[in-house]
Every structure is written in structure tokens, then in C-alpha cells.
């Protein structure tokens, strides 16, 4: 069933909000690598992390214990305080 509300704005922006503007450069920033618990994700992120590190980026591994459960607020807050941008994978 589709539900809707009426837009109270002047409708000059997209229906979807643009995502938060990313930084111009990752220099000095920490890239989070979030494992959402799907099979083979740890190896995948290991490789991505290695490549990021080769480029001199700072990384931070994080995730939730199983794919079935949602991330806890506490967990999300901690991660948000440690990283500047984040890559979330793998959705399968």
C-alpha cells in the first residue's frame, strides 16, 4: 500500500534529498569500512582496505555482528565519532 504526504516546500529540490556532500579530499581523513555481515565481506573489505592503505589513507574497520540484526545506536554513534566517510558493503 502506498502512503504519501504533500510536500510543504517550494519543490525546488529533488524528491530524494541529495546525500550529504562528501569532502573534497580524503587527505587526513579516516575512511570507515563497514561490514554488514554478508558472506565473504571480510575478505572483500580486507582487499579494499589494503588498496586504500597503499594510497596512504587512514582506515577504520567496523560493522555489525550479523546481517540479520540492525546496528545498535550505540554502535553507530561510536563509528560516527571515529570516521569521516564510510563505505558499507556488501549487500547481496
Amino acid at each position: 500500500m502506498t502512503n504519501w504526504m504533500r510536500d510543504p516546500t517550494a519543490e525546488t529540490s529533488a524528491v530524494k534529498r541529495a546525500r550529504r556532500v562528501p569532502p573534497k579530499s580524503l587527505e587526513g581523513l579516516t575512511v570507515g569500512l563497514f561490514d554488514i555481515g554478508k558472506t565473504r565481506t571480510p575478505e572483500f573489505l580486507d582487499r579494499v582496505e589494503q588498496r586504500f592503505k597503499e594510497r596512504g589513507l587512514k582506515t577504520y574497520r567496523c560493522g555489525k555482528p550479523t546481517n540479520a540484526k540492525v546496528a545498535t545506536t550505540e554502535n553507530l554513534q561510536k563509528i560516527s565519532s571515529e570516521v569521516d566517510v564510510i563505505l558499507i558493503g556488501l549487500s547481496d
Binding site: 502506498t2 504533500r6 516546500t9 517550494a10 519543490e11 534529498r17
Partner: protein, 359 residues
């Protein structure tokens, strides 16, 4: 049920974009995510609610009311209704809200500046006339505080329109250093229970019995205490000594003010037969001070008037800069000032605006 069917049928007459959400989403959270709130929760604007709100006005939903600063978004009556739903208004508030919005859009009100300023100000709405009682507005106990739906939601709806239709948001176009709780909402009715008192609407040129909104750029309230003085003359000097402190004691002719005169203070004036004109004139004159007492630089304090004004008698306000409004509960020997926006150096360029409320 009938409403829902009518919504489905008439939903075609609403033209605002539909923002869809799934059954598992909480519409109140969606409103937050979309940035439609002022920080407090809003009522999700479903078709049924918007159509119900539009019943509060005879005006057509597609009528353009104006372009809302800062980004000049086009605001139709439908958009007003959607924001009125967000705010929690009842349909019968629509005429007041529409009149308030039109008043705020008058060039001399300078709505863009009020929104963008670093100062505390926002549009304050003062309602006069029969509509105030008809829609259940508060002019008495706790009038400037919480608790009354009409007071709370009409002011809120106007601010949400500026935010949502105009795009004016704190941290973006809204550069207010500190803001104020009055930026959520400050809207109230004048106490017109005394037939001998000239209401603000009449003072501003409208016939008695006509309902009006007066829009004032300001914040507040700040307390004006006097629990001792018993004469009209003494009370005038007492209130004036508080009024001159507004903003900074040595800052003059740069902001207007609304004095909210409470019943116990008003009683002192009434006993001496002072009417509105006499009170306003006396207060204005009582805030005039010798320039040499308020020179800039004295005691290392930078604010003040230049030395060239030392021999002048300098008023705190422009001659039309102080408006008195009666309101408040029956007990309490305190009145209040609503300080105006600090951009009021040119009295012609920045003014309050009064408009008739048409139902």
C-alpha cells in the same frame, strides 16, 4: 470514512508533490528526515488533513499568496495549508495565518532581513478583533507562553512557511547568533476586554470591530518589574528606566519595541484616566535623555552616541517606535518588552505591518 473517500476523489485537486513512504516507515520520522520540522514533531500532511485545512478559507488552493524569502519560493494557499497542518493548526485559523503571511511579505516588513539577521528577531503576530475570541486565542494568563493551540500553531505555521517554502534555515540563510524560543512561535491576542481601551488595530487605522493582524519584527519577552509605584507619572518613569536598557542602555533609535502592559500596571494608568495615546507619548518622552549622559567611549564602553550629540536631547526610540499592547493575567505587577529588530535605524524602511483578516 467520508473524509477519506472525499480525499481520494478530490485528491486530484491538490497539486503539491506527493512524498511517498512505505508501510514500515513512520510518517513523523519521514517529516524529520525531509527537514520539514522546526525540531519539534510536526503533523504529517496527508491529503485528508490538507483538504480539511483548506476548508478554513474561501480562497482557492491554487491562488499564489506570494514569494517567500530568502529563496523566493512560490507559496500558494495550498502550501499555506500544508504548513498549517504541519504546525497543528485548525482550519479556522487559516484566515489569520493568510493575513499574517501577507503582512510579513509587505516590503516594509523586510522579511528576508528578519530571517537572515544575526539578531534574535522573528515575525511576532498580534491579533485584534472578534476573530481572536472566535478561534479561542489567549490574551490573558501566560499569554506569551505555552498552552494555547491557536497562539502556538499560527505563529509556528508562519515560521514553518519561511523555512519550508522560503528555504530559510538556521545555519544556512538564517544566521542568528543565538536565536530565541520566540523563533518557534510568538503569536497572541490583545486583551480587548476593556471597551475604553483603544485596541492596537484601531490605533493603526482600522475600524473597531474589524479583525487584524499586526506583524512586528522582534523577540522576547523581557521583564519590566515595578511592584511599588502607585502613580501614572511614576510608573511611566519606572517603565521608561527599563525601556532605555533595551539592547544596550546607550543604544538609541535603532530598534522599535512593543510594551506588553499587564492588567495591574494598566489599572494604575486607567485610574488616572490615561488612554493609549497619553501612555505612549509619556513613555516616549520619558526615554529621552541628554546626549552627554550616553556618550560613546565613556568608561571604556564603546556603545553610545557621538560627541556631536552631547548637547542634544536624545530619544531611545523613533517617535512611532513604541507600541503598547494590553495582555496578560490579572495578577502580577510586571509588564514586558518585546525588543524590536536592531536594524531599525531608518524608521521608514522598517516598520510593523497591520492587515485586515478576511474570512
Amino acid at each position: 470514512m467520508a473524509e477519506r473517500l472525499e480525499a481520494k476523489h478530490k485528491g486530484g485537486t491538490l497539486v503539491s508533490r506527493k512524498i511517498e513512504y512505505s508501510d514500515t516507515s513512520d510518517p513523523m520520522e519521514v517529516c524529520y528526515q525531509r527537514g520539514w520540522t522546526d525540531g519539534l514533531p510536526v503533523t504529517p500532511p496527508t491529503d485528508e488533513r490538507v483538504l480539511e485545512m483548506l476548508k478554513g478559507t474561501r480562497r482557492r488552493a491554487d491562488e499564489v499568496v506570494g514569494k517567500i524569502p530568502p529563496y523566493l519560493g512560490t507559496c500558494t494557499v495550498e502550501k499555506v495549508a500544508i504548513n498549517a497542518v504541519l504546525a497543528g493548526c485548525k482550519p479556522e485559523y487559516m484566515p489569520v495565518l493568510l493575513a499574517a503571511l501577507e503582512a510579513a511579505l509587505e516590503p516594509v516588513f523586510t522579511l528576508h532581513g528578519v530571517l537572515a539577521t544575526t539578531y534574535f528577531s522573528s515575525p511576532i503576530i498580534i491579533v485584534n478583533g472578534p476573530i481572536a475570541r472566535a478561534i479561542g486565542m489567549n490574551s490573558g494568563l501566560n499569554v506569551l507562553g505555552q498552552g494555547n493551540r491557536a497562539n502556538a500553531t499560527i505563529g509556528r505555521a508562519l515560521n514553518l512557511i519561511v523555512q519550508n517554502v522560503g528555504g530559510g534555515r538556521p545555519g544556512e540563510a538564517d544566521r542568528s547568533t543565538l536565536g530565541a524560543p520566540s523563533k518557534y512561535t510568538l503569536c497572541f491576542a490583545e486583551d480587548e476586554s476593556d471597551p475604553e481601551w483603544e485596541p492596537l488595530s484601531v490605533a493603526r487605522g482600522f475600524p473597531r470591530g474589524v479583525s487584524t493582524v499586526t506583524l512586528f519584527q522582534g523577540h522576547g519577552p523581557e521583564a519590566i518589574v515595578d511592584q511599588k509605584t502607585r502613580t501614572a507619572e511614576g510608573l511611566t518613569r519606572s517603565i521608561a528606566s527599563s525601556l532605555v536598557k533595551m539592547g544596550h542602555p546607550k543604544l538609541v533609535q535603532s530598534a522599535r519595541a512593543v510594551l506588553v502592559l499587564t492588567p495591574e500596571h494598566y489599572a494604575i494608568y486607567k485610574e488616572s484616566g490615561w488612554d493609549r495615546k497619553k501612555i505612549e507619548r509619556a513613555l516616549y518622552e520619558a526615554t529621552i535623555r541628554p546626549g552627554r549622559e550616553i556618550l560613546a567611549g565613556a568608561d571604556g564602553v564603546g556603545e553610545g552616541v557621538p560627541a556631536s550629540r552631547a548637547e542634544e536631547m536624545v530619544p531611545k526610540f523613533h517617535d512611532d517606535g513604541l507600541m503598547v499592547v494590553r495582555a496578560g493575567g490579572p495578577a502580577g505587577l510586571f509588564s514586558a518588552v518585546l525588543p524590536g529588530w536592531l536594524a531599525g535605524r531608518n524608521k521608514l524602511e522598517l516598520q510593523p505591518v497591520t492587515k485586515e483578516i478576511k474570512t
